[in-house]
């Protein structure tokens, strides 16, 4: 993306001359306050929205050029927050086949992709079910399978886990981790800093621009920055800060509960020795 701005008709300017590049195989979290333009940024990535000015290139292809939609959307697959909005078929496996069917694949290749995608999300057994009989978490896994069946180089997830319960979130997140491990780039929009800390790179949007772009540890170590952006550090980090104020031996920027417990434990050892 170079120098991309975006404005909805009749709405305010959402993004102001944003330039950024997402590499193959990366795991990027996009964070920012409500209304900061996260979803807009995602929709620009696969040509669902076209920039008001500036250029979006997907593997070198300009999303504004007519006739590139198929390539762009098969390269950058997208999963939204509410699965019902993107379930189109009346049978699970047909729904998963919907995207790749448009790619002109041979039947055996199509079958293989649907099988692999449904197995990856653990829904192969329910391939002949009507989607509306699935639980919410299963529906999320279904639309994820539909995206995976495209074999995209980039997978964009727009607050996919926001309405899920804990076990549903874990299920979906485990699949995302696996997909990333196998080489797909993952772009995850999230308000959950427990998810953001898992990414290699966090992009924080603020006032329509990129306010931070770097590893999660540095974002959450900054004392002021996160709150200005509507963010708070992950819960374990917030507790670590509270403890650091009282016991300086406990570092304030730990990201994980286990790390924090470890640090508290070594603080005891420190005291015993002294």
């Amino acid at each position: 993306m170079s120098d991309v701005s975006f404005q909805y008709p009749g709405g305010p300017l959402v993004l102001r001359s944003i330039s950024l590049r997402i590499q193959r195989g990366e795991f990027v979290a996009i964070v920012g306050r409500n209304g900061s333009g996260k979803s807009t940024l995602c929709r620009l990535m696969n040509g669902l929205l076209l920039p008001s000015s500036g250029t979006v290139l997907v593997e070198g292809v300009d999303t504004r050029l007519p006739g590139t939609e198929l390539f762009v959307r098969a390269t950058v697959a997208m999963v939204f927050q509410i699965p019902d909005n993107q379930i189109v078929a009346t049978v699970v496996e047909e729904d998963v086949a919907f995207g790749p069917e448009n790619l002109g694949l041979s039947l055996p290749e199509l079958r293989e992709r649907v099988r692999a995608a449904l197995e990856a999300v653990g829904l192969w057994e329910k391939r002949s079910w009507p989607p509306h009989f699935l639980s919410e978490a299963e529906k999320h896994r279904l639309v994820l399978a539909g995206a995976l069946a495209l074999r995209p180089r980039y997978l964009v997830l727009d607050e996919t886990t926001a309405m899920l319960d804990q076990s549903g979130r874990n299920q979906v997140f485990n699949i995302i981790r696996e997909v990333h491990k196998q080489g797909t780039a993952v772009v995850l929009v999230t308000h959950d800093m427990r998810e953001a800390r898992e990414a290699e790179r966090v992009i924080a949007l603020g006032a329509g621009t990129v306010a931070y772009d770097g590893p999660p540890s540095e974002l959450f170590a900054a004392a002021e920055l996160p709150e200005q952006l509507g963010l708070l550090p992950p819960p374990a980090t917030r507790l670590a800060r509270e403890l650091h104020r009282r016991i300086s031996a406990i570092p304030p920027h730990l990201l994980w509960p286990q790390e924090l417990a470890e640090a508290i434990w070594s603080a005891i050892d420190g005291r015993r020795r002294s």
């Binding site: 909805y8 009749g10 709405g11 305010p12 964070v31 920012g32 306050r33 409500n34 209304g35 900061s36 996260k38 979803s39 927050q81 639980s135 919410e136 978490a137 607050e159 926001a162 309405m163 899920l164 319960d165 804990q166 076990s167 549903g168 308000h191 959950d192 800093m193 427990r194 709150e227 509507g230 963010l231 708070l232 992950p234 819960p235 374990a236 917030r238 507790l239 509270e242 403890l243 104020r245 009282r246 016991i247 509960p257 286990q258 924090l260 417990a261 508290i264 434990w265 603080a267 005891i268 005291r271 015993r272």
Partner: protein, 290 residues
């Protein structure tokens, strides 16, 4: 009890009863909500949280044999009493777009107030108060078109419209879902301040336990349509196995406490609220150091 705002006994609800698709969503639910309490309904998806809220709000009619008292009135025996009760109850549905009706944000927040006959300066002031309370700047958002808002902003508009008439009882379905972390905390602080200001009572559902300590008094744990536990917010760590049995987990602060006690440093924490817990951990460290 005199101060019971909501008394629920033997509450059952079945979707599509008498058909082959019949689904029992609530089975013999029982609990009491007292004036000024903030109670969170937790449980996995499909546990019946939203159904419970909608039944309590009079949007769904429970099965025969259920008993529901709202502000001491038996609403199942006296269905006409809902008309009088409605203005005292604020309801936030799970999907905000289901309750947004006006074109402009300011008008939408004003909707219920206008029904109650407010107008002019009084109306404008109340709308401003409600919008600012949920973190929607009045000047910026008053004339924004609802359809140009983001998901999180829509939820804030719906919430502003819900609290604007200052209802005595708030029934909120996932009030913090989709909000950024600062807004999330802001909404929970708002609920606490409404309670402090006029004794507002809150029943809310959530799938995220993380921010509840320090705000909720109690958790009502639902599973398969039944109440399987009522846990005081101060006893979360003790209830860890009960939560896990039903697909939930402790907030991260609770995981730290658990890990410390596993290693032999018991923390006598009554609260998982971060500053209180930090104090408790310090005390434990002092004792173990001597």
């Amino acid at each position: 009890m005199a101060d019971a705002v909501l008394e629920v006994t033997n509450l059952s609800f079945t979707y599509l009863p008498g058909t082959e698709f019949a689904t029992e969503a609530l089975r013999g639910v029982q609990f009491t909500l007292h004036k000024g309490e903030i109670v969170a309904v937790v449980g996995q998806s499909g546990a019946g949280k939203s159904t419970l809220l909608q039944v309590c709000a009079g949007l769904l009619w429970p099965a025969a044999g259920s008993n529901l008292q709202v502000f001491g009135i038996d609403v199942l025996q006296n269905p006409s009493s809902w008309a009088k009760l409605r203005p005292r109850i604020g309801v936030l549905l799970q999907r905000p777009e289901m309750q947004l009706i006006e074109r402009l944000v300011g008008d939408d927040v004003a909707f219920a107030l206008r029904q109650q006959g407010l107008s002019g300066r009084e109306l404008a002031q109340r709308v401003e108060w409600a919008m600012e309370a949920v973190g929607l700047g009045f000047a910026v958002f008053r004339d924004r078109r609802v359809h140009t808002l983001s998901g999180g902003e829509l939820r804030k508009v719906a919430l502003a419209g819900t609290i604007a008439p200052r209802p005595e009882l708030l029934l909120l379905d996932e009030p913090t879902a989709g909000l950024d972390p600062v807004s999330k905390l802001n909404v929970l602080r708002l609920l606490a301040s409404l309670r402090a200001a006029y004794g507002c009572t809150v029943l809310m559902t959530t799938t995220d336990m993380e921010d509840l300590p320090g705000f909720a008094d109690r958790l009502l744990l639902l599973h398969n349509g039944q109440v399987v536990g009522e846990v005081a917010a101060t006893e979360l760590v003790c209830a860890a196995s009960l939560l896990r049995e039903h697909g939930l987990d402790l907030p991260e602060a609770g995981l730290v406490v658990e890990e410390l006690s596993r290693r032999g440093l018991p923390v006598s924490a009554t609260s998982l609220e971060h500053s209180e817990l930090a104090e408790a951990i310090c005390r434990s460290l002092l004792f173990s150091g001597t």
